[in-house]
Symmetry: C2
Subunit: 212 residues, 2 copies
């Protein structure tokens, strides 16, 4: 990006906050609510997000409530879904299909309707060639053969720490632009790739440290 | 705490960093390494943690390497395990035994040897009364009857957002001092309670936002 180019508004926005709005508005829809003011939405979002912040964030999206009348919930849900990429389905590749990989696949497949497990990789002989809900488990060695044809956008990594960086690089070379990493390792990837890391054992150790 | 009282050293330490040392040292033990210098350990830990930082953190624990000789790995693993509460087993109560709760229970029971699922609660008629690896699933309404006798230290919450705060308060009243929260809600609990929150759907939306 050249220094002169103004960053797009959406890149200035806080995706978790927009996601909170989207979630709260979907709940509002389920309640049968068709119009919300920024005050209503702030109450629903909670977490200390002010109505002024909400108005500001939404105005960056070109979405304006009418003073005293509020926002059209359906329009706003659709607008936020588009910005957040939640208006389409996402195909996910999971590398590492042990207990955690399997657990995450099950959770995503059943509970998150926008996310579909489209590719599964592992190294265990007893897994490779088996099927999980119709998806064949491939050997990690075949990643470059299998993955490019499956149009996955997101990779989930649950391999041991020592293998995580190499697997992540291979996923990126196959065109994946986003990685959710559960391996206890810091990934170094090109800046264009979005990476989120969750370290469950570390989270638990923070709790046990507190209790000790 | 009075202003004059010096905070204990261990409270100044960064538990995730200590956990990284512990994990790296356990790997070193598995390699057959019995002595590490702070430079060795920094290499193993990665993530930009310097050897000077490591020496400083470990000196706060009263653990000192000998100049030019390094640290005794076994002693250091034991010391860190004690500080982190990883030298004992932890009993966990899971509230919410849907796909995510079930997935986490399986992961913890099989992969994290220090953590044991000792209590499971749900509201679904078809689940209550069934057993999971010998642990009876109880109704959430019976939480106050069941939980106090089971000596759980940590609660995992995977209930819907709207139920999370009430469940968390009930867990705390039953004596639990640490909560790992997967419900998409911010919990307000007494300061003495340690809370860590993981919002999988929000993490995924950050990735899809980036790809959109």
């Amino acid at each position: 990006m050249s220094r002169r180019r103004k960053p797009s508004n959406s890149s200035l926005l806080n995706p978790p906050r927009l996601f909170l709005y989207h979630r709260a508005l979907e709940d509002a829809l389920r309640d049968g609510t068709s119009v919300v003011t920024s005050d209503d939405l702030a109450l629903r979002v909670g977490r200390g997000v002010s109505s002024a912040q909400i108005r500001k964030d939404l105005s960056h999206l070109g979405t304006f409530g009418r003073r005293g009348q509020g926002y059209d919930v359906i329009m706003l849900v659709k607008r936020l879904a588009r910005v957040l990429g939640l208006d389409r389905d996402w195909r996910i590749a999971i590398v590492g299909f042990g207990f955690l990989g399997h657990a995450l696949a099950t959770f995503l497949e059943y509970r998150e309707e926008k996310f579909h497990i489209a590719a599964i990789f592992d190294v265990a002989k007893e897994l490779v060639g088996t099927r999980w809900h119709g998806v064949r488990v491939s050997h990690v060695d075949d990643l470059e053969k299998v993955l490019p044809v499956l149009e996955c956008g997101i990779g989930i990594i649950t391999v041991p720490a020592s293998a995580a960086q190499a697997v992540a690089q291979r996923l990126v070379r196959c065109g994946l632009g986003a990685i959710l990493n559960f391996a206890p390792a810091t990934l170094r990837l090109p800046e264009r790739v979005a990476v989120r890391s969750i370290d469950l054992a570390s989270e638990l150790s923070i709790l046990t440290h507190h209790l000790s």
